[in-house]
């Protein structure tokens, strides 16, 4: 007789939701954690003004029986004790597992350019997230810039919330994007998605081989200067949503000792069944490499099945997972930020926003640690998350990880085990 396993899933995006549902289907005792107040992660983020997309609703229905702890941020983990500590606004809690699924997703890649620190400049995914939670854009003029399919999704959300999307400024070359679009027939759902998005964006000017050279304004953005194929143009606007793709969120994986890939933006290494090199720990979705929603859903299901002992069910999904990942690799090739994007920042452009360290100050150093000790770059509240990814792109620096704790700013009370923590193990 199989014992009932405790499966803990960190992250409630497509991968986490799929993992939780799959594990629960095998009778495992599943708990899900997420820092947000509602499940869905980033791509299915709860929108206060619109219903969730059909796929999201389906995924959410499937986890009805799972215990869901929201608003909780993991701050520390102990692999030998198979436990982690999370806190919310009021409490700290300890969670234990037999099996752990890391579905920690991704965050946006921000690259510095002149004026990027002005209020009014956000990420592309960033503005999409803000708008879904009430940020006012109705009637506001927004420019969406950077690179990748996320720009289209963000622009469509913004339009749906009443924004006037003035332009989409894509740094990839037109021919490359068209070749990518022509290749979408292999992934019919992606093709359908792309067609639908284009329809939603009818009338919006698209600029390819184009970058935002600078954001202009005194204390708030009022215009952007774009360079499209050598021609310079100024677009007056109230918001600039600038994103350059996604990077895997791997802090917890690192803390647990999981092996990472050697990519510029490291991801968690997993085998065909989404197992990491750490016994009992699985990973799925963007944390294993940027792969999109479909990949995340399939990988989450594989991880959930495997974690709950359903290896056969897991194996049946491997072929479709591999096919979905292939799409991700194609997208990555098309949309990787190029040299022109890397060259946007000048010496006076801020690289580390937390500590106000400029690109020029950092050029004097050969590695991240010397730069950090001399300039404080990376020592602020974000602990190198934002500047670290940017400097990996611009300078090729790697931030040598010994694992960082707390993973996110945590109350000293939590680190001091000052409050009795409630060990969560079994269903109420």
């Amino acid at each position: 007789m199989t014992e009932r396993r405790d499966v803990l899933v960190v992250g409630a995006g497509p991968a986490g939701l799929a993992a939780a549902a799959a594990a629960a289907a095998h009778g495992a005792n599943v708990t899900m954690l997420d820092a947000q107040k509602h499940p869905g992660g980033q791509v299915w983020r709860h929108d206060i003004a619109h219903r969730a997309p059909r796929r999201a609703r389906r995924a959410l229905r499937r986890i009805a029986s799972v215990r869901w702890c929201y608003g909780m941020r993991v701050v520390d983990a102990d692999i030998s004790a198979r436990s982690l500590r999370a806190e919310d606004a009021l409490h700290a809690r300890e969670f234990r597992w037999d099996r752990l699924v890391l579905a920690t997703g991704a965050r946006e890649l921000f690259l510095p350019f002149p004026g990027w620190t002005l209020p009014g400049v956000t990420g592309a995914g960033g503005l999409q997230a803000l708008v879904k939670q009430g940020w006012p854009v109705d009637g506001g003029r927004v420019v969406v810039a950077g690179s990748g399919p996320l720009l289209l999704a963000a622009a469509a959300t913004l339009r749906a919330h009443g924004a006037r999307v003035m332009a989409i400024v894509e740094q990839a070359a037109r021919k490359d994007v068209h070749a990518f679009a022509r290749g979408l027939w292999r992934w019919p759902d992606k093709l359908a998605q792309a067609v639908a998005l284009r329809a939603k964006l009818a009338g919006v000017p698209f600029h390819y081989d184009a970058v935002v050279r600078r954001a202009l304004g005194d204390e708030h953005l009022r215009a952007v200067e774009i360079d499209h194929g050598g021609a310079i143009a100024r677009i007056e606007c109230d918001q600039l949503a600038a994103g350059f793709g996604l990077v895997p969120e791997i802090g917890l994986a690192r803390l647990l000792g999981c092996a990472l890939t050697d990519a510029k933006h490291p991801a968690v290494r997993v085998d065909a069944l989404q197992r990491t090199n750490v016994e009992g720990v699985f990973a799925a979705g963007e944390a294993c490499g940027i792969g999109g929603m479909q990949t995340a859903s399939i990988e989450g299901a594989i991880a959930g099945h495997a974690a709950a002992g359903g290896e056969e069910a897991a194996r049946r999904l491997i072929a479709s997972r591999d096919h979905a990942r292939h799409f991700a690799a194609t997208a990555a090739r098309t949309f990787s930020p190029g040299s022109r994007t890397h060259a946007l920042a000048d010496d006076s452009t801020i690289a580390c926003r937390c500590e106000d360290v400029t690109v020029g100050e950092l050029r004097a150093f050969d590695d991240a640690r010397s730069a950090k000790l001399a300039t404080r770059c990376g020592m602020g509240a974000c602990q190198g998350r934002i500047c670290g990814a940017a400097l990996a792109e611009l300078m090729g620096w790697t931030w040598h990880g010994h694992a960082r704790q707390p993973l996110f700013p945590a109350r000293l009370a939590t680190l001091g085990l000052h409050e009795p923590s409630i060990a969560i193990r079994s269903n109420p």
């Binding site: 520390d76 640690r369 010397s370 704790q405 700013p409 945590a410 109350r411 009370a413 001091g416 000052h418």
Partner: protein, 366 residues
């Protein structure tokens, strides 16, 4: 074969200060540092300039060094922030410690002010209300040691010295040092490698004594002084397996640096969650609102500790032209300048300011 008047292995605060003193005396100095300048204990510690007065030889070195540190008060790279130290006692034993401290500081002309319970609350509102007494040493400061080490190394360069950065001394050989790339540097060698000193000088007893620190987000005005409990000296001078003592520092930008812990035999740099928690709870006792503050990061560092707690400063009589300046435990930054002064005096055969005997490298063998 390259020839130098002095080869300094290690560019932490001790090596950098000694190299600077030598270069300023006109010597041709070569420095060797495999990692980041000031990247070891120098970067990991608190950078607190404090006269620890319990052990006379330690006090002498600290006291002299603090006078020399005054020259850095206006230098931007030092980030010298004169917040003062506030020693606090929560029991009668602690009050006795304060009395002894007050007397010894007074004897050396170091200004210190006795604070009763009411005065303590006024001087430092964040303190718990049931503390018995405090001693405030207003002249003491906190600095940023990695920046200082960098500037010292740059100064050595400006005075004609050379830096072999990214290289490591792997052996002390006839008349010099061999580096990991095969280069041989010819000249007297000063080993200032902190915890790694034993690799080159196995005859010197040195153990790494690990400590934890936590840095918070910015809370300007939350804490005015570096608050240290009277039990700190016992924890530093004791040899217990694990010890914690409240030691909380306000950084110039408003972040709080929270310590302290000591342990021997710790394997690796990974934070020990339970010891960290014990350390924090000890600090909560003295600063009851501290639990609410947000921690950005926790880390560990290794203090080079000798059996009697005093550093090794001087020539190795068992070797030829080999010197050492290492083993400063938690007082490396405070005593760096006096260490450099003493080393330079001994090396150049000048009369040293203080009696060098307590820091003699092979004193325990005698």
């Amino acid at each position: 074969m390259r020839s130098h008047d002095l080869i300094v292995a290690g560019a932490g605060i001790i090596g950098a200060a000694c190299a600077q003193a030598a270069a300023e005396a006109g010597l041709r100095v070569a420095m060797v540092e495999p990692g980041v300048i000031g990247g070891g204990a120098t970067a990991a510690g608190m950078g607190h300039l404090v006269a620890l007065d319990d052990v006379p030889a330690e006090f002498a070195l600290a006291r002299d060094s603090l006078r020399l540190w005054e020259a850095y008060a206006e230098r931007p790279e030092a980030e010298f922030h004169r917040c003062g130290t506030l020693w606090v006692a929560d029991d009668e034993e602690g009050v006795q410690v304060l009395r002894g401290k007050a007397a010894r500081l007074d004897a050396e002309g170091i200004a210190a002010e006795w604070l009763d319970t009411a005065a303590l609350r006024e001087a430092e509102p964040a303190l718990a209300h049931d503390l018995l007494a405090g001693l405030r040493v207003p002249g003491e400061a906190v600095v940023y040691p990695p920046g200082i080490a960098r500037t010292m190394v740059e100064r050595v360069g400006m005075l004609g010295g050379t830096l072999h950065h990214g290289r490591k001394v792997v052996a002390l050989e006839n008349d010099g040092a061999r580096l990991d790339d095969g280069t041989h540097l010819h000249g007297p060698v000063l080993v200032a490698c902190g915890c790694d000193t034993s690799a080159l000088l196995p005859e010197l007893a040195l153990r790494p004594r690990r400590g934890h620190l936590v840095i918070t987000d910015r809370y300007p005005g939350w804490l005015h002084h570096q608050v240290v409990e009277t039990g700190y000296a016992a924890s530093a001078h004791g040899s217990a397996g694990e010890a914690v003592a409240c030691n909380v520092q306000p950084r110039p930008g408003g972040q709080l640096l929270v310590g302290s812990s000591r342990e021997f035999g710790a394997a690796g740099a990974q934070v020990a969650a339970s010891l960290l928690a014990r350390m924090l709870r000890r600090c909560f006792r003295f600063l009851p609102e501290l639990p609410r503050l947000k921690a950005l990061r926790a880390w560990t560092g290794f203090r080079p500790a000798t059996p009697d707690g005093l550093p090794y400063i001087g020539a190795l009589p068992s070797r030829r032209d080999v010197w050492v300046a290492a083993g400063h435990e938690g007082l490396g930054v405070t005593t760096a300048l006096a260490t450099a002064q003493l080393f330079a005096d001994l090396f150049l055969r000048r009369s040293p300011w203080i009696d060098p005997a307590p820091y003699a490298p092979l004193r325990s063998a005698a």
